[in-house]
């Protein structure tokens, strides 16, 4: 039955376009040639133009990255490991600086305290002062006796 049905359908293959219509449409297509010709050419140009521009842009960017002196720095700045390392060393530097400062401060303070507490200093030492005083008295005493002797010689 399907075979019969398909045979019936095949009758419709005889449907054909009107020859005048077919010729007229063909003529119109032939006449529209200039408009059509430019379309693929333009598309090709646009396609290759876009590719060329993209290639040139990529080359420029790659060139800048390759020959830039800051390339390693720029790349290193993007690596998390490098950043962590940098942060760790920064922290250590700060601590070492603090230690160094503390050491210096300690020595200054300790020397100041030592100096304050040191009673052996010559200008503060009572024994030294006493000696100086005695020296002065003896000097004065010696000189007074000499002066008295000179006065007596003059008067006599």
């Amino acid at each position: 039955m399907n075979q019969n049905l398909i045979q019936q359908l095949k009758i419709l293959r005889d449907i054909k376009p009107d020859p005048i219509f077919a010729a007229e449409t063909r003529r119109l297509i032939m006449d529209s040639r200039p408009k059509i010709r430019s379309a693929p050419a333009f598309r090709r140009f646009a396609y290759f133009g876009t590719l060329s521009l993209a290639g040139a842009a990529f080359t420029v960017v790659a060139g800048i990255l390759m020959f830039s002196p800051s390339q390693n720095m720029a790349i290193a700045s993007l690596e998390s490991a490098a950043i962590n390392e940098e942060l760790k060393s920064l922290s250590i530097n700060i601590q070492l600086k603090d230690i160094s400062y503390s050491n210096n401060a300690d020595s200054i303070i300790s020397s100041a305290i030592t100096e304050i507490g040191n009673t052996d200093a010559r200008h503060m030492n009572p024994a030294v002062l006493k000696n100086e005083e005695e020296d002065m008295i003896s000097e004065y005493t010696d000189k007074s006796e000499e002066i008295d002797k000179l006065f007596n010689e003059i008067l006599n």
Binding site: L12, D14, D18, F21, I29, M30, K35, I36, A39
Partner: protein
């Protein structure tokens, strides 16, 4: 196929004579497909003209992707028919069109039996759903392969086989009812 590829390449370079050869080869099938879908000779001519002008203008966008040029043309024709019904919706009674245009079927020769049979099958065909009509026309009247039909209608080959089976069943039923 190689010859067709060469013609397409020439047409893509703007050689209208090459496209003219393709036009001569495919016009009868595309026209038939459209006529059987819209029923009116005038509408079929308008849509066919539009399909070939459109394909000529956009020939540069056609790419060889393993399916023939005919599938691409059928796809344009199929979409043009959908657009036709979309714009004509609610303005034309399909049944009245069938009645009016059936006698106008463009078949060569004056054999009454043939004309009568053609009108009968055409009327039955018009009762099918749009996709069923398309599959029957492409597959059994214009002799496309399932692969070509699937590309033209943008459906899988499995889906085409299902539609084809359902379409033949419904068509047979319609023809039997006409006989009674």
């Amino acid at each position: 196929m190689k010859e067709e590829e060469l013609l397409i390449q020439k047409a893509q370079r703007g050689e209208s004579e090459a496209f003219g050869v393709l036009y001569d080869a495919y016009l009868p099938k595309i026209y038939r497909f459209i006529y059987l879908k819209v029923t009116s000779k005038a509408d079929a001519e308008d849509i066919t003209h539009h399909v070939f002008m459109n394909s000529w203008e956009n020939i540069g966008s056609f790419r060889f992707q393993g399916f023939p040029f005919s599938s691409w043309l059928y796809r344009i024709a199929h979409n043009a028919v959908i657009d036709f019904y979309r714009t004509r919706k609610n303005t034309v009674d399909i049944e009245s069109v069938i009645e009016t245009e059936a006698a106008d079927i463009p078949i060569d020769g004056d054999v009454l039996d043939t004309r009568y049979e053609a009108e009968k099958v055409h009327t039955a065909l018009k009762t099918l759903k749009p996709d069923e009509q398309s599959v029957v026309i492409m597959k059994f009247i214009n002799e496309l392969s399932n692969a070509e039909v699937s590309v033209a209608l943008e459906k899988s080959e499995g889906a085409i086989r299902v539609i084809q089976h359902r379409a033949l069943k419904n068509l047979k039923k319609q023809l039997e009812q006409q006989t009674k």
